[in-house]
Amino acid sequence: MADTTPPEALAAEFDCLMARAGITVPESRRTAVLTAYADLRNKIALLHGRYGAAAEPSNVFRLSPVESK
């Protein structure tokens, strides 16, 4: 499923996220970065809503006993 966020909303959201991350994107690069962001949003949309609560992420870990010295 493709992301359907309108371009203006996408740009505003992107500006907010960059500000939060402390990143200043030069105006000359803004169009290219926004295009990359829109593409990434489409990738994210493919994964959204796909999994229920029982689907655990791959980084769930297990511990081994620690032996005393």
Binding site: A21, I23, T35, A36, D39, L47, S58
Partner: protein
Amino acid sequence: MMDTQDLSIAAMGQALRAGAVTAQQLARAALARIAARDPGLQAFLLVTEARALADARRADDELQAGRDRGPMHGIPYALKDIYDTAGIRTTCHSKLRVDHVPQSDSAVATKLTEAGGVLLGKLATHEFAIGGPSFDLPFPPARNPWNPEHITGGSSSGSATAIAARMVRMAMGSDTGGSIRGPAAWCGLVGIKPTYGRISRRGVFPLSWTLDHCGPLSRSVEDSAITLQVLAGRDPEDPASADVPVPDYCAGLTLGVGGLRIGVPRAFFATESAAIPEVIAGIDRIIALLREAGATVEDVALPDYALFAAAGRVIMMPEAFAIHQADLQRRLLDYGEISANRIVVGAAVTAADYINALRARRELTDAVNAVLRGYDALLTVSALNTAPRFDAPPDTLSASPMQTIPFNVTGHPAMSVPVGLAPNGLPISVQIVGRPFDEAMVFRIGSAIEHLSGWDEVKLPAFAA
């Protein structure tokens, strides 16, 4: 002295032990080829001539004294410039690290030194293994020896160039979404991304911790098998390093494919509009040859390729951003434009997005493992096309012509093997994917394909003759 430029690693070893050549002669010949060929191809960021000659002298002295360190003893090699080398500049092809001199070796550099290898130098990469090919970096991009107007693919660009131009037989690369297998495919080389955790990543500048793999590019499957034999094994200082026994990778190289079962996830490439007919014809020819040689080859179903690609990208970008955030905040304009534009979007991935990608990783890994329970390996294409021109480079993140990232997501071993030349004179390749830690089977099938396809008879670029 004998002509050594086309000798395999094994053949160089035999010649060394027979006294037909010395390690110093091998090193000087390689250095001469680099001096003659590299100016137009730009594979090397740094040629470590003094180090190479010292390594070679030591190798000769030890062999004379009866100390034999094994199959890499006296063999020239080179490293992608993201592998730390003690006392030798390691730049990541970036202005940000142009003067960086590590104090210690990466685990791979240590192992190759201990194995008696001869370090020729440090090789071009896409900046931080993600941004390229670029002309706004401190060093120019490496060019494809098959046609220097074409790109090599990335990010292990210099590694591929140096081998395809016959400067060196083996060079190390790294692979986060296809950065070993892609350049290998577009430059007519063998490139293996071993199982995640098989080779230590310690001392290699990270792009994305959970997707990064180290591995060799080489002229032949046997070269790669010999190299992995030296490098595989547990490293307690790499948190991802696996504690799994290392078999003899060369033992099965001549066994052929009779009786093996090979699955083909045809939907991965057959429905892609970017796939050129020569690539489809190339893999279909290999499937027919494998069947003639006694293998059972059947189409298999895996989850949609788009899901693998999405999981890979959504994992990679925030991990890369976390690594680069502080530098991007302070000195974004010191990055090349491609790198910066790609990495900053990682800031926009939420924690829930990242976790969904990790849930997908579990689902996809289970799905590939389920198919591999019924097959010895999978066969697919490495790239959908041949190497593009510099003036028409692909966007390797949003619309990558590579078919490599699924196995960074799942961690399975995967190797690109060249199978022929397209009418434009550029190489086409296939990709073999094995069960976790079964690189030996990947090498066995790869060696068979290498011979069945007739790649042994293909002449390397004429300018390098």
